[in-house]
């Protein structure tokens, strides 16, 4: 019953978006919390539904429905702990929204631990009056941090490609950026040719991508502040799979200009290109480890696609995966000790998770048949991947702990190739009180 309520609430909250959010898995193991509807003063706007939706999507919390609440406090001193113990609520979030003397929209909130009868966090987030959504995501970030000790990633965005009218004469590929929950979708680039592999720079200011505008693959970089795009690589053969190094100084990529696909790096300042792998097999999908010393990548040098690791100084290569005949497209987790990747099992292609040291067996995180393109949130709590449902390309958000899955779909086409942004500069400010 509660499960249904949660799902209904989420769908209602997303009716204004091109995406539809559908809860997909059980919620029995989630921590029950309550985000009490914030007190809204004068012309201020309610942000509670967005905070509820954000915290649900983390796969850690189950916000209880307002209709089940016994009281509706808006500050810690109004909280009757008994009311929340009855509901087995572990945390209560209360607050208010108002417009201050400077014309800024302010959300004042407190996070309360019901068992300890203690205020964990008390603060204010301020932002522009016309942008309550950014304010709400920032509040969610701080509430999540107070409850888990991990920074929230609800203010982050996601890049992806929308493919419309595939195989028709008016086929259209659009590189999009949206909030992580699919809201505020913004087109960045529209092409009649495929667009692939969007990759964020670590400061979130640039996006590299692969396009086929010139008839074959080429790597471009777009500056998201100026909107200007520049060509990075268009050698003969494949130019693909760009990946910014953590410090932004280099971009790893795949070129087949020297005969077959190998991993190369280009130094951004000098444009000096260096070959990292040199093997007659396919080497592709490079991604940096957080210290910038290693790349992990896909290669079929062993007879089937598997994941390998190369030291960018010594160029020494070691193999990381052995399970099955298809392991590809790795993405390093922010803890730099695990990675997620695409794994083929007897039932299909799934997203799997394992440690870089190779000590433990892989764990399967997704359960569809055609899962690919995994991308992880900068806090490592959630990941997003693309899959197919009813012949449509859709995105799925799943908590790395695996309990909750949300689907993001578009009514006009296939959504593919999600790339979760790093933490981005915020337009809102948080002040702890």
């Amino acid at each position: 019953m509660k499960r249904l309520l949660v799902a209904a609430c989420l769908i209602a909250a997303s009716t204004s978006t091109p995406f539809e959010i559908v809860i997909d898995r059980g919620v029995d193991t989630l921590t029950p919390i309550a985000v009490v509807p914030f007190r809204i003063y004068e012309n201020a706007i309610d942000i509670t539904p967005i905070v509820n939706s954000d915290l649900s999507s983390s796969g850690q919390f189950r916000p209880i429905d307002e209709s089940n609440m016994l009281s509706l406090p808006s500050s810690a001193d109004e909280v009757l702990y008994h009311d929340w113990r009855v509901l087995k609520t572990e945390y209560v979030v209360v607050g208010s929204v108002f417009i201050d003397g400077l014309g800024l929209l302010v959300a004042e909130f407190e996070v309360i631990d019901v068992n300890q009868e203690q205020v964990l966090q008390s603060g204010q987030v301020k932002g522009h009056v016309e942008d309550p959504r950014s304010l709400a995501h920032h509040v969610s970030d701080e509430v999540f941090r107070a409850m888990t000790g991990i920074p929230g990633a609800f203010s982050t965005r996601v890049a992806y490609v929308l493919v419309e009218n595939r195989t028709q004469v008016d086929e259209r590929h659009t590189l999009m950026i949206a909030d992580f929950d699919g809201e505020r979708e913004t087109p960045i680039l529209i092409s009649g040719q495929p667009i692939l592999s969007p990759a964020w720079s670590s400061d979130g200011k640039q996006l590299a991508y692969v396009s086929f505008e010139a008839g074959s693959s080429a790597i471009h970089i777009i500056n998201l502040e100026t909107g200007q795009s520049r060509l990075l690589a268009s050698f003969e053969g494949i130019n693909s799979a760009p990946a910014f190094s953590p410090d932004g100084s280099h971009i790893a990529m795949v070129l087949s200009r020297d005969g077959n696909p190998d991993i190369y790096t280009i130094e951004v300042a000098s444009n000096v290109i260096r070959r990292i792998t040199n093997h007659r097999a396919i080497d592709t999908e490079p991604v940096w480890e957080l210290n910038g010393e290693h790349l992990i990548f896909t290669s079929d040098r062993g007879g089937s696609p598997q994941i390998y690791r190369v030291n960018v100084d010594s160029l020494r290569v070691t193999r990381l995966t052995y399970e099955g005949r298809y392991n590809a497209r790795p993405r390093v987790m922010p803890d730099n000790t695990h990675f997620i990747f695409v794994h083929r099992s007897a039932s299909g292609f799934h997203i799997a998770w394992r440690d870089l040291a190779g000590n433990r067996a892989a764990r399967i995180l997704s359960s569809n048949v055609l899962d690919e393109s995994p991308s992880v949130a900068p806090n490592g709590v959630m990941m997003m991947y693309s899959t197919k449902s009813n012949r449509k390309g859709i995105l799925s958000i799943v908590s790395v702990s695996g309990e909750v899955e949300y689907k993001l779909t578009s009514s006009t086409g296939d959504v593919i190739e999600p790339a979760w942004s790093p933490y981005l500069p915020l337009t809102t400010t948080f002040v702890e009180r």
């Binding site: 495929p194 693959s217 696909p261 592709t284 696609p305 590809a328 083929r344």
Partner: protein, 187 residues
């Protein structure tokens, strides 16, 4: 009645095709033996009778379809298959494709100014970037075959579209089998 007409027309094309094939090669029938009537009379103001010239009837190696695409055609005027399929995660050309690819090679060898794009494609399974590389490997396999059959590197360009350009958007074995392919595109 119309069958007979068509049959006669094809027979004529075949004869002419053989004649032009010989004319372009050494070692077969001497070209001067081709019966060509030459009018050696001095020019008059009356028009000479129309003399059919064999090269006018030549069977082309390539024809342009109504939609503008250029295709290789057989000596009987039928379009030669230009799509070659592959197994999952494989880039080996099927032995049944050898003869067809050799027909393409023969036409490219006779027409050195004709170029061809060799486009490799994959089914939707597996990762997009790996499939981009796999599509190139399939295209290279076909390019190498054509190269071994005399086609010049300057006539060919191998490209890959990975899994991005399916011909069938279904998610079943039949659709996947169609999408794992190399297409020859004459430009």
């Amino acid at each position: 009645m119309s069958h007979l007409k068509n049959g006669a027309w094809i027979a004529l094309l075949l004869v002419c095709g053989l004649l032009t094939a010989c004319a372009s090669q050494t070692g077969c029938g001497a070209p001067e033996e081709v019966p060509v009537v030459v009018d050696q009379r001095p020019e008059k103001d009356t028009k000479p009778p129309e003399v059919p010239k064999p090269e006018v009837e030549e069977v082309p190696d390539f024809i342009e379809l109504p939609d503008g695409t250029l295709v290789a055609v057989d000596s009987d005027g039928s379009v030669i298959r230009s799509v070659f399929n592959f197994e999952f995660d494989e880039s080996e050309i099927g032995s049944s494709d050898f003869r067809v690819l050799q027909q393409h090679a023969a036409r490219l060898n006779r027409n050195r100014d004709q170029s061809v794009a060799i486009d490799g494609h994959c089914d939707e399974r597996g990762t997009r970037e790996y499939n981009l590389a796999l599509g190139e490997r399939r295209a290279m396999a076909v390019q190498d075959f054509l190269l071994a059959n005399g086609v010049r590197p300057s006539q060919m360009s191998a490209r890959s579209f990975g899994e991005e350009r399916p011909v069938d958007t279904g998610s079943d074995e039949a659709a996947w089998a169609k999408n794992r392919r190399v297409e020859l595109k004459y430009e």
